[in-house]
Symmetry: C2
Subunit: 331 residues, 2 copies
């Protein structure tokens, strides 16, 4: 049986383009004891790939030139010499941009139940995106019923999940986003109680005060920078803040108000968060997210690219920001 | 029976001087049911008093003009119509700068065992200072055996306690202080493994790297500002930081590097800390501190002023920084 795969052909120079990947076709060798063969159904396309294809040290080693592109995927076990996996099992893990993956089980994050919903949701709602929102909000932010939760990049993949989980927990949810179109989605689709467009706001601090009449208890931050300064000024005593992204810190703008005094006066907590630290607990996140999904409380968007060879275009679209929702490749 | 007390006669204008207090003598009225009469033995003099005597809103209301100056004290119950307290009990609480205090029990923080050591230690090692160090370090910093704990204002009342508690827990302790004299005390008296004088350091970052060969796991911060920036650059993944004071943020220097990226990359935690939130759990701190004190593992200094009328001079000395250790008034 033959396997088609996308290998990393070159490092970005400087930008990522479809040219840095190469399609290869190779004969699959037969399985050894302890291995399983996975037929991928859906491949994931993620912003983190920007880091994986460079040779800069990261929380995870770079993808080597000439090897299959690293990616999360959902697949079906089609052959097994591994006692934990049977033919017909569905699995989620780092199976790469390829049609088939030979695995020893270590790269399987969890078994997937196909009755939970479309297989593709295991790449976002019940995958990395969902788990990031789930653990970052529930373990660090720990929102209580009636508290106010503010989310930056409120319409994004992670932010929109955070807003919906917080809403389902009975919180007042306030989103911060960068376009009127996204603001409308925040209100109508993701159920935020209030939304601010930071790009058109002339008085962000004043708008935040109005949107958060009881102050801010939890802040799920994907941006840092001046938006975060404004939110921190509205903190209640004992506020909690999840630092999930820092895209608002541009090289020209690395300085800003010191936060220590706010942290002290408000006895607030701040904690950096990386989902890879929590992947071994993915099933806990799924156990929390699945009831919300089944109850129709988790809205999301997918943009599906068809066929293995479309994956690099999917990544290009994601990095250019022209995608509509979670980018997925269907095989 | 007559009671002598120091009342607040005026607000600071602008500095605190001995003139803002006035000594008064008044007849004590007899106790009502539910009250107890406390004879103060030792009065506390604390930096927090700077805030209490102004009329600016704080975490605690200002001391009213004409009323007794608020202060922690250790005293003896000399008369009681309160079922929880008997004559001869020793108590710690907010009894004020006066010889006798009439209490309804609400201002008693805890009963004191005179066999634990000199009564005065209940004003610092087993009082607010100790509890600040204890909860701030153990609950927020949560240091594990073998970890590296960095303390700013390492020779100060709180900092020196933090260093010693961390040392007793088997940590490598690194102190940052502002004079060679204090640096010597840090090493010889408070048992720090390494100490840095930030005022004479020409390369604080380099010195920190040498002093913390395994990075920084816990940072107990009493200063904020550039010192804190340098320490944060040495954070290990999962570092914890207690924000206990921000004296390093001067009005001319409110800007500094944004901390969010450090917090994210290191998945570090930062939390503001105010001891008044934890006063109802003071006995827990004492339970932790007492064995250390009895084992001779808690070094401290006291500067005793004799007589009630010396309290304002004690405060002046403390605010001028000419004191040697914890300032206490002995009655």
């Amino acid at each position: 049986m033959k396997n088609k795969k996308l290998v990393l052909a070159a490092r970005p120079n400087p930008a990522i383009s479809t040219e840095i990947f190469r399609l290869e076709e190779k004969q699959l060798s037969s399985l050894s004891d302890g291995q399983l063969l996975i037929k991928n159904h859906y491949l994931s396309v993620d912003p983190a790939m920007r880091g994986w294809v460079t040779d800069m040290p990261n929380y995870i080693p770079p993808v080597e030139i000439g090897t299959v592109m690293r990616s999360f995927a959902v697949g079906e076990v089609v052959e097994s010499k591994h006692s934990d996996y049977a033919v017909g099992d569905f699995v989620y893990g780092l199976f790469g941009w390829q049609e088939f993956a030979v695995s020893d089980g270590f790269d399987v994050e969890r078994k997937v139940n196909p009755d939970d919903g479309p297989l593709s949701i295991n790449l976002h709602v019940l995958g990395m995106t969902g788990a990031t929102a789930w653990f970052g909000l529930t373990e660090i932010g720990d929102p209580k019923h009636g508290e106010t939760v503010v989310v930056s990049t409120a319409a994004g993949a992670v932010g929109s999940m955070v807003g919906q989980i917080a809403k389902a927990r009975g919180c007042r949810t306030v989103g911060i986003t960068g376009s009127d179109e996204k603001a409308v989605r925040c209100l109508n689709e993701f159920g935020y109680d209030a939304v601010l467009n930071y790009k058109t706001a002339t008085d962000l601090a004043g708008d935040l005060t109005k949107a958060c009449p009881d102050g801010v208890d939890v802040y799920f931050d994907n941006v840092s920078g001046p938006i975060t300064d404004a939110v921190m000024n509205q903190f209640n005593i004992g506020a909690r803040m999840t630092v999930c992204g820092v895209i608002g810190i541009s090289p020209e703008h690395v300085n800003g108000p010191r936060v220590s005094r706010t942290m002290l006066v408000k006895r607030a907590k701040m904690q950096g968060f990386l989902i890879f630290d929590h992947m071994h607990r993915l099933s806990e996140a799924v156990a929390g997210l699945l009831p919300l999904y089944k109850a129709g409380k988790l809205s999301f968007s997918e943009e599906i690219f068809e066929g293995l060879s479309s994956a690099p275009r999917g990544l290009e679209s994601l990095l250019a920001g022209t995608n509509q929702g979670k980018v997925i490749v269907k095989l």
